[in-house]
Amino acid sequence: MAFFLETLLGGLMAGMLYSLVALGFVLIFKASGVFNFAQGAMVLFAALAMARFSEWIPQWTGISSLLLANVAAFVIAGAIMFVVAWLIEFLVLRHLVNQEGATLLMATLGIAYFLEGLGQTLFGSSIYKIDIGMPKEPIFVLESAFQGGVLINKEDLYAALIAAVLVAALSVFFQKTATGRALRAVADDHQAAQSIGIPLNRIWVIVWCVAGVVALVAGMIWGSKLGVQFSLATVALRALPVVILGGLTSVPGAIIGGLIIGVGEKLSEVYLGPFVGGGIEIWFAYVLALGFLLFRPQGLFGEKIIDRV
């Protein structure tokens, strides 16, 4: 029982971490109808910037406080992501107004390659460390109820909290503000949005910026867990079933989807895996998402796919 709880909790936390990456996808999809293939690369890029600057700043300035160095590195990395967002809009998106999803998807792929190359050129391709002082040792709760207690990973717990806050803030932003509405309008129809005076350029910079910051937070947390290295970009693939299950257009969906996928894949791996030789969690996550889709083809919270004649 204690173990079941542990697995469940582990799944929930892992799910929250996926949500954080998934959120980036949702943001950009929601605001421009683009499936942003570069999200993984953005996470990597942002994390690399953060890791290297938190290492460089003490060297350059002699600041010895970890907190100060980290805050400065975060700010610089955030600024870099802003510049990236602006460049993406200026060099790419602006020229692809009103194009089909597949075209834009390809463009984000080009961006992904570019960022991967640029990130490694600027910041190197070794494993780097982000140390934001997350506690690494586990804690045990409910020791009275279960022998040995239930293990909880504090680092995951903090990460989950940060993810939750971020998601809540973004949900409010989308649902309640005029900009949020404009973003949704842009996703539906670029041209019509332009025709009523929504400045696409500015909207896109804003969205990519927000997505950049979300990528930075995701990169920071994943990076502090795993170390910053090229493979960080591949967490995007783990986050994909989360986005789809939650619905490409739903911010809360990213969270719920994350929790379901997280729990589902951990439980399946731990309880079913041993019978079939293990290693099933990744396809199980996808099959799980698929199972939900068969009932709700637009994901749990996604906007209904409209086809009307």
């Binding site: 107004v97 009103n98 194009q99 005029a178 509405r181 404009a182 949704r184 309008a185 996703a187 539906d188 129809d189 670029h190 041209q191 019509a192 949005a193 332009q194 025709s195 009523i196 005076g197 929504i198 400045p199 696409l200 350029n201 257009t249 906007e303 209904k304 409209i306 009307r308």
Partner: protein, 269 residues
């Protein structure tokens, strides 16, 4: 016409789609302040393209203005973004509705007021649109995609009005609307024109209505302006009567007895 103040003047523009398809071959037209100007012409004449060129929505269609100039109150506007134009009070109602499918009718309308910062003004505009189109009010919470064709058309027009424009480019506003509503739409146009001094440039197939309500008209054929003149003059022109009003030879012909041969248009000769 030169006595009036010209808000918009299009001077000999050429438009090419996809780098190869030449669609507009030197179109010029003027829209005087506070007037209603109609562009008439058959399918494929280039009406929509002209409006897109003015509102700078060509880019998304991979089209470009390659020659000529467009001026709004003396300012060259070819290089502005559509959003800049809306800031300057020029709004286009696109052909084929283009409502935001996932947004509700009311959200669609509110997005139309994106450039308006005053809450009171937005609320007032919303009320005004609902007053013009009561049908929209009853459907305000439906997602636009699930409303009928005509409701979407009303939504698109209403959405443009939400921006408190000083000039509206209307592309086939009457399409798909019931006759009563068509009448209403034109009444609204007239209303806004007279009361709020909004200038209109409209591309219309419903020539009858268009000429009845507008001050001046241009007739386009295959990318060129072939005829222009005061609306009343056009309405009494024999060719226009025959081809656009369906009343050639004085009598309105029944659709049942249309001849299966066609007379060549004089200006194509």
């Amino acid at each position: 016409m030169d006595t009036q103040k010209i808000v918009l003047s299009v001077n000999g523009i050429e438009v090419i789609y996809n780098h190869v398809i030449l669609v507009l071959k030197g179109v010029s037209l003027q829209v005087p302040q506070g007037k209603i100007v109609a562009i008439l012409g058959g399918n494929g004449a280039g009406k929509t393209t002209t409006l897109r060129a003015i509102s700078n929505l060509l880019q998304g269609e991979r089209g470009a203005v390659t020659k000529g100039s467009i001026e709004l109150r003396g300012e060259r506007i070819e290089n502005l973004s559509p959003a800049d134009l809306v800031q300057r009070g020029v709004v286009q109602v696109m052909e084929g509705r283009h409502c935001f499918a996932h947004l509700t009718i009311e959200e669609n309308l509110l997005t139309g007021a994106y450039t308006r910062k005053s809450k009171a003004e937005v609320a007032a505009n919303l009320e005004k649109v609902y007053a013009y189109f009561p049908r929209l009010k009853t459907r305000r919470t439906s997602q636009a995609a699930y409303t009928s064709g005509g409701e979407q058309q009303m939504c698109a027009i209403g959405r443009a009005l939400m921006a408190s424009p000083s000039m509206v480019l209307l592309d086939e506003p009457s399409m798909g609307l019931a006759p009563q509503i068509v009448e209403e739409v034109f009444n609204i146009v007239q209303d806004l024109n007279q009361k709020e001094k909004v200038t209109f440039l409209l591309a219309e197939q419903n020539t009858n209505m268009a000429l009845k309500y507008s001050d001046y008209g241009y007739i386009m054929e295959s990318g060129r302006v072939v005829m222009d003149g005061a609306a009343a003059d056009l309405a009494s022109n024999e060719d226009v009567k025959e081809f656009y009003l369906g009343v050639g030879g004085g009598e309105r012909k029944s659709f049942k007895d249309v001849k299966s041969y066609k007379r060549r248009k004089r200006w194509l000769a």
